[in-house]
């Protein structure tokens, strides 16, 4: 019998990253799996290529001296998980490599779901900027991030392509959306169903959970988090 995400204990950053990777590695080809995180406390994650010292300094500047930032498998910037709705989507990503179109599709899904729930957002389309993203995810809106009418970024995310599958990890800020975390999570699920033409699975196989416990060891390690 499959477990659902509601049966999964609240996890720290290493546990969440490991579970996403376990789903990415083990989900069957063609699967569409949505996971909305339950956090066990404040957490900070940072992009695969980012230097650890930047994430460490950002945590310290925020007063999060006891929070150990965890390197993600996905790209993107530093994210503080303190009241956001964090979610991941594992999906088929076979033919094209083009991340822009994938990112747009997923954020359009969230846009549609949020609109249905009464929260107005739009896909950001700024003029071309110099190469590179801001170190902190929410420091500025990148193309296809979800923004409010005044340009405030409310959804940012990042991707990893492995074999024929993709992992998206996103952070939705609720402060100005007027939605509860549960309503926002349901809006994302509803939007994904509309955008992808089928409801995403929210069930987690027991073997994925078991694999995640092993993978989490890496995400807690200095070798992984401080590799650069």
């Amino acid at each position: 019998m499959l477990g659902t995400e509601l049966n999964v204990a609240a996890l720290d950053a290493a546990g969440q990253m490991a579970l996403d990777e376990a789903v990415l590695l083990a989900a069957p080809a063609g699967a569409l799996v949505l996971r909305v995180y339950r956090w066990s406390g404040h957490a900070c994650t940072f992009g695969y290529s980012q230097p650890y010292r930047a994430a460490r300094a950002a945590c310290d500047a925020r007063g999060w001296t006891d929070v150990e930032p965890v390197r993600r498998a996905t790209g993107g910037g530093i994210v503080f998980h303190d009241g956001d709705v964090t979610f991941s989507l594992v999906f088929a990503w076979e033919r094209t490599w083009a991340p822009d179109s994938i990112y747009k599709n997923i954020h359009r899904a969230a846009h549609l779901g949020l609109k249905q729930a009464g929260a107005a957002t739009s896909l950001n389309s700024p003029p071309r900027r110099p190469l590179g993203a801001a170190a902190a995810c929410f420091a500025r809106a990148e193309p296809m991030d979800l923004v409010l009418a005044d340009g405030t970024k409310v959804l940012g995310g990042a991707l990893r392509k492995r074999d024929g599958k993709g992992l998206y990890q996103g952070s939705l800020r609720l402060e100005r959306l007027g939605l509860t975390p549960q309503a926002a999570a349901e809006a994302v699920a509803e939007g994904a169903a509309r955008e992808f033409g089928r409801a995403p699975s929210r069930e987690l196989a027991p073997q994925w959970l078991a694999a995640a416990r092993d993978i989490a060891t890496r995400y807690r390690s200095r070798d992984w988090n401080q590799r650069r």
């Binding site: 992009g47 695969y48 290529s49 498998a73 996905t74 790209g75 993107g76 088929a92 990503w93 076979e94 033919r95 094209t96 490599w97 083009a98 991340p99 822009d100 179109s101 994938i102 990112y103 190469l131 590179g132 993203a133 990148e142 995310g157 990042a158 991707l159 990893r160 392509k161 492995r162 074999d163």
Partner: protein, 130 residues
């Protein structure tokens, strides 16, 4: 710069030259758009054909790069690590990623020719965006 027509390719869009050099195709670099990070494999590592051994990242997405053949990594492009834009600017030249000393000569024979790769790309495009 190598002649793309002289290279072998795999479906995950890596090219492989007769001297064991590996990079990603022009088609792939255009799809990724701006490459901002390259993590080549460590020299001396032994890899199996199809094993993820290198990472290329654009602004929002990280991509695994797969070994086209089994063997030992004998060189990694430190310049591409310092200047990832080389992957976009010169994918068949200065933007190479690593070199493999193949341990199984038959592996290369299983890769696609340039013309087969062109056909493959066209069929992918015909099947849609994902």
């Amino acid at each position: 710069m190598l002649d793309p027509k002289s290279l072998k390719y795999q479906k995950s869009h890596e090219w492989f030259s007769a001297d064991g050099t590996v990079g990603i195709s022009d088609h792939a670099q255009k799809e990724i758009t701006d490459v901002v990070f390259v993590e080549p494999p460590k020299v001396g590592r032994h890899v199996k054909r199809g094993e993820a051994c290198c990472v290329v990242e654009s602004v929002k997405a990280a991509f695994d790069i797969y070994a086209p053949v089994s063997g030992e990594i004998v060189a990694a492009n430190a310049e591409a690590g310092k200047n990832p834009a080389l992957v976009n600017q010169d994918p068949y030249g200065k933007g190479w990623l690593f070199k493999i000393k193949a341990s199984a000569p038959d592996d290369a024979a299983a890769l696609m020719s340039a013309s087969d790769y062109e056909t493959f790309i066209a069929s992918e495009a015909a099947h849609g965006s994902h």
